[in-house]
């Protein structure tokens, strides 16, 4: 096991829904665990939890984050250990309770306790800018802003960046949350044809350093269907390799950025779009 330096709290956030926060949390959490670190992924989406489903642990949830905050359960009782990776744990969100049950003090206590036990605490933020989202980012050292190369997603990411710079503990101490941009659902051929914002466009508009580019892929969908993160289920696929590279960059390694390219043949380029 890795030497226990200080734990890092990472929030995976976006503002907009459906851009790939939960999928990315699961993929990066699993990648960190496969690289040997001890990881917990925490679902902050109270009432609409899905991280359990994407990780294939939906039938093993007994207690959740709010039970721990309310003192109904102890933290070790609520943590679910992954069946494939012994270093990976899930702290699920509550599916039934009201999200007002998330208190700032309660979340602070849980995060402090997790810092004692894990190398990485990866918080899956709900969409929006309400309580769940602000509490998910509240204690973050690092933020991964998940963005699709599309106008509404970029706009919402900009809003979230504003919140990260204003409403987090680090910001209030006069420090800065370490921010990284993760571009997901990238279609190389659309970008090449000028139909989709390019990586450079998004980077220029948001001015946040790039953590990785995840190509749109059926492997990602397949991984969710199976309840196994793409970095476990199809570790050699293009999206999984992109997630592993992003994870290594998150750990501080210098890895050249690979922009997914259009690998289809000329025939498909001209007459069909099916291949991806």
């Amino acid at each position: 096991m890795s030497e226990r330096t200080s734990a890092r709290v990472v929030v995976v956030t976006s503002g907009k829904g459906g851009v790939g926060k939960t999928t990315s949390t699961a993929a990066i959490g699993a990648a960190l665990a496969r690289l040997g670190d001890k990881v917990v992924v925490v679902d902050f989406d109270v009432g609409l939890r899905n991280l359990d489903l994407v990780l294939g642990a939906e039938r093993r949830v007994v207690f959740d984050l709010i039970n721990v905050i309310n003192g109904v359960a102890k933290l070790p009782q609520a943590l679910i250990r992954d069946k494939r990776l012994e270093n990976l744990y899930l702290l699920p969100a509550s599916q039934t309770r009201d999200k007002d049950a998330l208190t700032e003090e309660g979340v602070g206590k849980v995060i402090a306790e997790l810092r004692e036990k894990f190398d990485w605490i990866v918080c899956d933020s709900p969409a929006g800018i309400e309580r769940g989202a602000t509490l998910a980012m509240r204690h973050a050292d690092t933020a991964i802003i998940v963005t699709n190369p599309e106008v509404s997603s970029v706009r919402d990411s900009d809003r979230i960046i504003g919140l990260l710079d204003a409403k987090t503990e680090k910001a209030e101490r006069g420090e800065c949350v370490d921010k990284h941009l993760l571009i997901t659902r990238y279609h190389p051929w659309r970008a090449a044809r000028g139909e989709m914002l390019s990586i450079d466009d998004v980077l220029e508009i948001l001015s946040v350093p790039l953590l990785g580019i995840i190509p749109e892929s059926e492997e990602v969908l397949r991984a969710s269907n199976l309840g196994s993160p793409v970095t476990i289920n199809a570790a050699l696929s293009a999206p999984a390799r992109a997630y592993f590279d992003a994870t290594r960059r998150l750990k501080g390694e210098q890895i050249a950025m690979e922009v997914p390219s259009d690998s289809r043949g000329l025939f498909t380029k001209l007459f069909g779009r099916k291949a991806a």
Partner: protein
């Protein structure tokens, strides 16, 4: 069809330009107080000193361009709603920052 699409220029440059204009505004309004609501309140207070009007008959439009922003305030005033010394001859008052015009229509 697909061949035709290859020659059509993409919409990404338009997306990029729209975002740049929008976000420049949204970023500045995060730190500044809401200019539009301040203007609205003060303009209506000034007009309300002289004529009576219904608050829901007020339309405020803001159009943000790349270099110029226009603000249009359109107030519907019922006839005979005079307050103080001004004759009730305005049936519709339009303030437009673009042309800085004040339409005056004789009742």
């Amino acid at each position: 069809m697909k061949l035709f699409n290859l020659f059509r220029s993409g919409s990404a440059p338009i997306a990029r330009e729209r975002l740049q204009i929008l976000l420049a505004h949204e970023r500045s309004s995060r730190t500044e107080p809401d200019l539009l609501s301040i203007l609205r309140e003060e303009i209506l207070a000034v007009i309300g000193r002289h004529v009576a009007f219904e608050p829901d008959k007020v339309q405020i439009k803001l159009d943000r361009g790349k270099s110029v922003t226009t603000l249009a305030v359109d107030i519907e005033i019922p006839h005979g709603s005079r307050i103080g010394g001004i004759a009730p001859q305005y049936s519709r008052l339009t303030l437009d920052s673009g042309a800085s015009s004040m339409e005056k229509q004789v009742a």
